[in-house]
Each structure stands twice: as structure tokens, then as C-alpha cells.
Amino acid sequence: MKELENQGKKQTTDSLSDIMNIDRLVHSPARLSILTYLSVVEEGDAVYLLNQTGLTWGNLSANVTRLQEAGYIEVVKEFKDKKPHTLLRLTDSGRKAFHNYQNEMKGLLDIKSLSPGGLRISRQNRMK
């Protein structure tokens, strides 16, 4: 029993350190949504992202800027028929960061880390 509890404690500690290592830039719902919809295409324009993510122009623009600054997406601004047209695509590092995030979250939500011992320790940790 003691062994099981220790095992649970170790798993939870590992999970907690994994949570701390999660890429917070990707973790935000708006940015995660942008990255997800860009990951299934080679490139898309701002209208495509606006429709698919349901974000407002301002919100989309702010989050795109953050992702661009991090080097996760590439933004090409051009004029088409005298109208501004913004084209966005995931960079290699952005695609890598997105896949890493996917794997990390998948690992964290794995059923093993939700063992009874793990959950109990996790509650104790939260109370500290």
C-alpha cells in the first residue's frame, strides 16, 4: 500500500513538473485555436481564421502578434484588389511547438496520472 502511495506521489510530482513546463504561449485558448486551425492547412488568410476560431478582429490580431513574436507563425501582409490581405502560416518551430504541446497534454491527461494515489497527493499539494 505504502509502495503504491509512493508510486502515486512520484507520478503526481512528475505530472506537476510537466504542467509547469507546458508552453503557456500555446496553452491560451485563443492561441491554441489559431495554431490548431493553421496546423491543418499550409496557409490561410485572416478571414479563414476569423470564421473558424470565432474570435473578434482585435482578439485575433493581438494573439497573432504574440505568436508571430514567438516565431510560431509567419504573417504576410499584401494588397489584393486594393484591399489589405493577411496571409498566415505556421513556421517549423510553431508546428513543433504545437505537436509538443499536444504530446505533453496527452501525457498529462493519460489515465495513469489519474490514479487514486495520484489524485490524493495532488489534492494535498493544492492545499499547501
Binding site: 490548431t36 486551425y37 496546423s39 491543418v40 492547412v41 499550409e42 496557409e43 490561410g44 488568410d45 485572416a46 478571414v47 479563414y48 481564421l49 476569423l50 470564421n51 473558424q52 478582429w57 484591399k83 489589405p84 496571409l87 499536444q102 496527452k106
Partner: protein, 205 residues
Amino acid sequence: MDTSDQKNLERRVFTSFFQAGFIEAFTGIFLLQLGLPALFSRSGFGDWESALLTLPIALILLIAVFLVRRFVVTPRLGKVKFLPERRRKLSKLIIVPILTLIAGAIVGYIFTENAPLRHIFVGQIPFSLLPIIVFGAAAYFLDMKRLYVYGAIVGLTFPLGKYLETVIVSRNTLPATILFTAFVFLGIATVFLVALLRKYHEPEV
């Protein structure tokens, strides 16, 4: 999100670009091109006159579809370049016209070489099978299940028209059946377009 989720999302994004009703519009125009000359020629016009009367109608409709796509739909849905995997699958759509040509050649050969078969099959099997093959291939390569249904509807139109011709003794029954299906498809296309216009508004930059 695992790979299958991502594939589903990619498919959902891809099909969302086909919600404007263009496939339905093109099917409707194609059926109009079949039904109208048949109707005109059975109403006393010559073959050339029938074709010449139909051509401007089809052209106007095609131009209208392209203009709607360019100025109404694209600004609302945005532009996307799909992943190479999807583009490869789309390039396989070339199989559709090739299949049509092969099937047409086989059917043509059977008819010209076998007079008895001609009487049994004319207007029935080839006209039913071709749309089913073409729409089936398009449904597979475009990942759109509704195209199987369209194939069945278009495929059934011809035997139904022939059958109705025997029930309602009129020279215009077959063209009228084809035209009815054409208008059903054009109606579906309009419903799709109106739904899209209600759902998406042109964004103000």
C-alpha cells in the same frame, strides 16, 4: 488532439469551403444542358437550334456562379492553401473525367456493335451508371458523402423519365424529368448560398 482528431478537423475545414452550393449549381447547370436541348428538339427545333438556344442560358448561369464565388463567397470564407496530402488527393480528381471517358467509350462501343443491346439499354443503364461512377469518384476524393446521394438522384432521373414516358404518354416527359432534377439541384444550391450568406458576413477591415 490525436492524429484522427486532426484528420477530422482537416476534413471539416476542407468541406466548409464547399458549403456555398457550387457543386449543386454545376450539377443543375449540367442537367439543364441535357434537358433543355432535348425539350427544344422535341418541340420542333433542329439539333443545332436547340444547342444554340441552350448555350447562352448555360453560359449566363456559369458566369453568375463564378461571379458569386469571386465577389460574394471568397470574401466571406477566406482563402486557404491545403496541406500537400489533401492537394495530392484533389489532383486524383482527374480520374473522374478519365473514368467518364472510358465508361462512355465502352458504352458507345457496346451500342454501335450490338444492335439488340441498344434497344434494351439506351437511355437506361449508361445514363444511370455514368453519374453514379462520376459522383462516387468525386465523393471519395473530395471526402463528401452527400455526393453519393447526388449520384443516385442524377442516376435515377433517366430511368424514371423513361418510365414516366410509358405512364404519361408525352414526348416531353423525359426532358421534363431531367429539367425537374436540374431545378431541384439549382434550388439546393440557392438554399446553401442563402444559408452561407446568413451565417457569414463580409468582414470589415
